[in-house]
């Protein structure tokens, strides 16, 4: 019996292909694309302010709301945060990636690779939680500031308008630090991959032709590592845009895209506005990906 089915299937590769491909394809088309589509449709509906019910009629008025000043500020603030986080991640990740790719012995390399991937895969919420402990008023940062007699500087910094707050764990600086911490591994790995691909012969040739190490770094290594930086920035940028956990735990009352989406769909039940809001990061990311593609980032993934 099984033999017969087997022969039957063997003679019909197209049927086998269909049987293999159908379940995953069906799942993704129905569940995922279907969901994305309903989100798109929902964003053209609107919430009736009186009844509090979603009105399923085609309208652009939900999208018009996105262009109100407060909402534009949310987009601006989130994009700025994502950009700053990305830059900081590059600055911190590059030396480590460079060291792993060029100087670490194979044995050390394995260990360092694990040291980067374990935080990447370990629990996101718990890693965020650890910064609650660190940034708390009575936590390790304040303790350290007192130890080196810089608590005055910390106090002065927290008094600054845009970046400060009652304590580090309730400030834009706190949000920034936690984002950098959480997404850093996503930057290290692509940069390291790109650096590993720089041929040794190229570096030697540069030296033979009279360049010193700084020149070699600037003119040979950096341009070749750049696609890796862009690849990493796709993650850090996109993940920051869509996160609501960190701003709700560490931020002050100012909204970020993710926090706004959560608030609109949750407390006010305004799914159309939440859906329209979500189109923001999608558009930003599509533009970003198109630029990244131009810069050759997809080869470094």
């Amino acid at each position: 019996m099984l033999n017969r089915i087997s022969t039957f299937l063997y003679r019909r590769p197209k049927l086998v292909l269909a049987l293999l491909l159908l379940p995953p394809l069906l799942w993704f088309v129905v569940v995922y694309l279907g969901a994305l589509l309903t989100m798109l449709i929902n964003s053209f509906f609107y919430l009736d302010g009186f009844t509090g019910k979603v009105v399923p009629e085609f309208t652009l008025r939900t999208y018009a709301k996105l262009f109100e000043t407060t909402n534009l500020q949310i987009f601006g603030r989130t994009t700025l945060m994502a950009a700053l986080v990305t830059l900081a991640c590059v600055a911190i990740a590059f030396p480590l990636s460079y060291y792993i790719a060029r100087f670490a012995s194979p044995r050390l390399k394995t260990w360092l690779y694990l040291a980067v991937t374990i935080p990447l895969w370990s629990s996101y919420v718990v890693r965020v939680y650890s910064w609650k402990l660190i940034l708390a008023q009575e936590g390790i940062v304040s303790w350290f500031a007192r130890l080196v007699r810089l608590d005055g500087v910390l106090g002065w910094y927290l008094g600054l308008p845009a970046v400060g707050g009652p304590s580090l764990s309730v400030s834009a600086t706190g949000v920034f630090l936690v984002f950098v911490y959480i997404w850093l591994p996503y930057m290290i790995i692509p940069i390291q991959t790109a650096l590993e691909r720089v041929p040794k012969s190229l570096i030697e040739a540069s030296g033979d032709l009279g360049a010193n190490s700084a020149q070699t770094f600037r003119n040979v290594i950096l341009p070749l590592a750049f696609p890796g930086v862009v690849a990493g920035s796709i993650f850090t940028f996109s993940l920051t845009l869509g996160d609501f956990i960190v701003p709700s735990l560490f931020g002050n009352s100012s909204f970020y895209i993710g926090k706004a989406v959560l608030a609109y769909q949750g407390t006010s039940g305004n799914i159309p506005l939440a859906a329209a809001f979500t189109m923001g990061p999608i558009v930003i990311m599509v533009v970003y990906l198109l630029i990244a593609r131009k810069l050759g980032a997809f080869d470094a993934l």
Binding site: L2, T7, L9, V16, L17, L20, L21, P23, P24, W27, F28, V31, Y32, A35, L36, T38, M39, N42, A93, P95, Y98, Y99, R102, T110, L112, A115, V116, T117, I118, P119, W121, S122, S123, Y124, V125, V126, R127, V128, Y129, S130, K132, L133, I134, A136, E138, G139, Y181, P185, I203, S213, L239, G242, D243, F244, L249, G258, Q265, A275, T278, P281
Partner: protein
């Protein structure tokens, strides 16, 4: 680096600045996790005082016995187990199709499968949430599983496809030539070959689901998975010692399988290196 005028020999040593920078980045990645372990033993109940006034072991049994924590943990484990099974089935089928056959749109499949992970979490979350809303499906265990399975498929798919590409097709042909039917060949040749890739993919899918909080927020309704429970504890700290210990347990539960998955994939690439 600037002061070195001579051209660099191939075995050049790293500068002190570079070493320090690398060390600082590593510490930045790991010290926070160590702190979680330290705080699990602090006697301070109402704040996050550093250094801890004194250390104690008493929170560990209390945390493990905490009913709310247990309930959240059980829900997370059940969701992750089911999402993993679905990811295994869908991911393996997809990988087999992409590996064995040429068809229109083949290149798009990988891109398509990684989308739920690559797009910001709120996109997947709000998308599924609006579908649930539109179809008026009540929130349940299943709505969480559907979301998790969707973004977990790609881990299994990637691992299995990579393994398919490394194993040679001659074994399968030999098996068929010797008279085995497709099912026997699958059972005796293909499955043993991809078993560690399946296990690695399953572990990654499991931990991805076990940790997920953003998509879950939109698909869970009133239910609390463990990450959502921890998130709630952070928003309104009610029981700090219990949360500290739970955080430590989660690190242990997720880190150990990840180490295992790393070994599984690393070892198979080692043997690959010997073959070629």
């Amino acid at each position: 680096m600037l002061s070195k005028k001579k051209s660099q020999p191939p075995g050049e040593r790293a500068s002190w600045g570079l070493k320090l920078g690398s060390l600082a980045a590593l510490l930045f990645l790991h010290v926070p996790i160590w702190l979680i372990f330290l705080y699990s033993f602090t006697t301070d109940e109402s704040a996050y005082t550093f250094p801890p006034p004194s250390l104690t072991l008493k929170w560990i049994p209390q945390a493990i016995a905490n009913p709310a924590m247990q309930e959240a943990l059980m829900l997370s484990l059940r969701v992750a187990a089911l999402a993993t099974v679905m990811a295994l089935i869908l991911g393996t089928l997809g990988a087999a199709a992409v590996y064995r056959y040429d068809f229109f749109g083949k290149e798009a499949i990988s891109f398509f499968l990684i989308l739920p992970l690559a797009l910001p979490g709120i996109v997947t979350g709000i998308a599924i949430r609006s579908a649930i809303n539109l179809m008026q499906i009540p929130f349940s265990f299943w709505t969480i599983v559907i979301g998790h399975a969707t973004f977990s498929v790609v881990t299994v798919y990637n691992n299995v496809l990579a393994r398919f590409r490394r194993t040679s097709g001659t074994m399968v042909e030999a098996s068929m030539d010797l008279g085995a039917n497709s099912f026997q060949t699958f059972w005796h040749i293909v499955l043993p070959n991809i078993s560690t890739a399946l296990l690695a993919g399953a572990i990654l899918a499991f931990s991805l689901s076990f940790d997920e909080v953003i998509v879950t927020t939109f698909t869970a309704g009133q239910q609390q998975t463990l990450p959502i429970w921890i998130f709630g504890q952070m928003l309104k700290p009610r029981n700090r010692p219990i949360t500290n210990v739970t955080a430590m347990l989660v690190v242990l539960i997720t880190a150990l399988p990840i180490l295992l998955a790393q070994r599984l994939t690393a070892r198979s690439s080692d043997t690959e290196g010997e073959k070629s």
